[in-house]
């Protein structure tokens, strides 16, 4: 009598978890997912191998001279990376000069100054801004922002610094709107949401007890930020900046529109220049022969190496920030 229900829920009962025979499912499933995981690692090495292979004619032809050479002449098949490397670094540094104070200000405002409801709403708005594709920033930069700079911002700056020894050169004419300076600002606008979001997380990760103790002994907000939050989160804050720098260095579309695409190194920030990614985006589809595309591939490898170093640095610093 009591046997019947046990028989019913015994091994013959059909449930989703029922199984019969040897368990092949587990090794197969584990094996497949493992292969996919290995494929991911393989992919990264494939990228390196394929890029080096594609760049080989250029590596063979120019050797290490490729990096310091300033000549970029597709007609005579002479290629050098220096203007693109300098343009990449300078435009990203200009971007950081603008992005760091603004991102830090927004992050402090969101976490320390604004009431929580406004702070979190602002935070969400900034996160949405991070989702806007970079080509939109580039287009806006070229068609709206650059003409505005050329008309209203650059002429007064040039005038103000004319004749001043160093600054007069850096902010020298012409006020044409597009150039390294504009590219830097567009990159700054693009990286502000990212840097702000990370800085906000870093500031929030400082234990509440620490800031309450500081407020408790009568510190003002400025003093709490300066004496408690910044020292406690300094590594994370620097990590946030380097993360933004890594993004700026590799960014293509936001820059390609506004930098002017000239293989020059100019003393003036208002002059057109180029970056590694902008050069590749602009010239790759038109690159003929074997040496020209190979040189562009080699530029790509240099960019890869630069961004990997920068981002590894930022991850090390952000990891150390967990208090």
């Amino acid at each position: 009598m009591t046997d019947a229900p046990i028989e019913e829920i015994g091994p013959s009962h059909k449930t989703a978890f029922n199984h019969k025979g040897p368990r092949l499912g587990d090794p197969i499933f584990a094996g497949i997912s493992r292969i996919f995981g290995l494929a991911l690692i393989g992919m990264l090495f494939a990228i390196l191998v394929v890029l080096v292979h594609a760049a080989w004619p250029s590596i063979e032809q120019f050797g290490f001279a490729f990096i310091p050479s300033t000549t970029w002449n597709p007609v005579t098949n002479e290629f050098g990376a220096w203007p693109a490397i300098v343009g990449t670094l300078v435009s990203s540094c200009v971007a950081m000069l603008f992005a760091i104070p603004i991102s830090f200000g927004i992050a402090v405002f969101i976490t320390e100054i604004a009431p929580p409801s406004i702070g979190s709403a602002l935070g969400r708005l900034i996160e949405l801004m991070a989702g806007i594709p970079s080509i939109i920033f580039g287009m806006w930069g070229l068609l709206v922002f650059a003409p505005f700079l050329a008309r209203h911002v650059q002429p007064p700056i040039i005038e103000a610094f004319a004749g001043v020894p160093l600054l007069g050169t850096i902010f020298g004419p012409p006020p044409i709107g597009i150039g390294v300076f504009t590219a830097g600002i567009i990159l700054a606008i693009m990286t502000i949401p990212l840097i702000t979001a990370v800085m906000r997380d870093v500031i929030l990760s400082v234990p509440t007890v620490m800031r309450e103790a500081a407020y408790g002994i009568g510190c003002t907000r400025f003093e709490v930020v300066r004496l408690v939050l910044v020292p406690a989160g300094r590594i994370g804050l620097v990590g946030a900046v380097i993360l933004g720098l890594g993004r700026a260095l590799g960014e293509t579309m936001a820059v390609t529109f506004v930098i002017g695409n000239a293989h020059n190194i100019s003393a003036s920030l208002f002059m057109p220049g180029t970056t590694i990614s902008a050069t590749i985006a602009n010239e790759f589809t038109e690159a003929t022969g074997t040496l020209y595309p190979a040189a562009l591939m080699e530029l790509g490898i240099i960019l890869f190496v630069i961004t990997i170093i920068v981002l590894a640095l930022s991850r090390l610093m952000l990891r150390a920030t967990t208090l």
Partner: protein, 274 residues
């Protein structure tokens, strides 16, 4: 007194930073709406393909192409990304392979997207004999995979250990635990990961420039170049023709609204689950 004043100045500077940041955001949104919206009435955006200079036309082929390339890219990336994340948390947890995958995934995540375009060009476009929608989709998949792995990995790690142990204790094979319990419990998070990755690759331009290339006609052939919104924007925004620039703005409004909608939905899913 000086402390009060410096505190006030500091707070005002922070407020100024917020105003500058939001100012740029609104300036960009304003330009998109002001220049992009009228084009939807003056041009047959959804019904005709891209026109020659100074002739009427729309974006039909680019919209269809973007949908196909993005969809195909995601179709490749989703199984890859979810399975890799599953391996890291369910099968190889705490193994050295797992942490190696996590590390290399982060490297891939931070690789500039134009490099993935170069890679796919050298790896696929040459051997396949020319630009094709398929290679464009592969390039986008390479961008989406590390994003899906990262987010899914995070979601799976948050699931309580007990739900797995409870099922395993009942004698359920691991793969069924994974498919029927772990994936089902993490479904919201996985969908969020997919939405965010889709939003990201929908606007990617650099990797498509020399993979999918462009095409002025409506095409469904995956082995041929295919028009797509980002490359149309790139080509048209840099052109001197008024109708091309108008269509570039229309395309950017369309793509921005789509992406913002996707990321808002993704955030709503996450918010509801928490």
């Amino acid at each position: 007194m000086i402390r009060r004043i410096s505190d006030l100045i500091f707070s005002l500077l922070c407020l100024l930073a917020v105003i500058i940041g939001l100012g740029f955001l609104f300036a960009i949104i304003y330009a998109l709406v002001e220049r992009g919206l009228p084009a939807f009435w003056t041009y047959p955006v959804f019904t005709e393909s891209v026109p020659p200079p100074n002739e009427p036309g729309g974006l039909l082929n680019a919209i269809v192409g973007s949908l196909i390339i993005t969809g195909l890219g995601m179709a490749m990336a989703i199984p890859f990304g979810v399975l890799i994340a599953t391996y890291m948390t369910e099968f190889g947890a705490e193994s050295r392979l797992s942490s190696a995958i996590r590390f290399f995934n982060d490297v891939l995540l931070s690789a500039p997207s134009i490099l993935l375009g170069l890679f796919v060009y050298a790896f696929l476009v040459g051997p396949l004999g020319g630009y094709s929608a398929l290679s464009g989709a592969v390039a986008l998949a390479l961008i989406a995979i590390p994003m899906i792995v990262r987010t899914t990995d995070g979601v799976l790690q948050l699931l309580p250990r007990e739900i797995r142990e409870a099922a395993v204790a009942l004698g359920v094979p691991r793969w069924k635990v994974t498919v029927l319990i772990v994936w089902r419990a993490a479904l919201g998070g996985i969908i969020t990961a997919i939405l965010l990755a889709t939003a990201r690759i929908a606007g990617e331009t650099a990797p498509l420039l020399f993979t999918a290339f462009s095409n002025n006609f409506l095409s469904f052939d995956l082995t041929e170049p295919m028009g797509n919104l980002p490359v149309v924007m790139f080509n048209f925004a840099l052109s001197p023709y008024q109708n091309w620039q108008d269509l570039a703005w229309a395309a950017s409004l369309l793509i921005t609204v789509t992406i913002l909608a996707m990321s808002i939905i993704a955030r709503l899913i996450v918010g509801r689950r928490m």
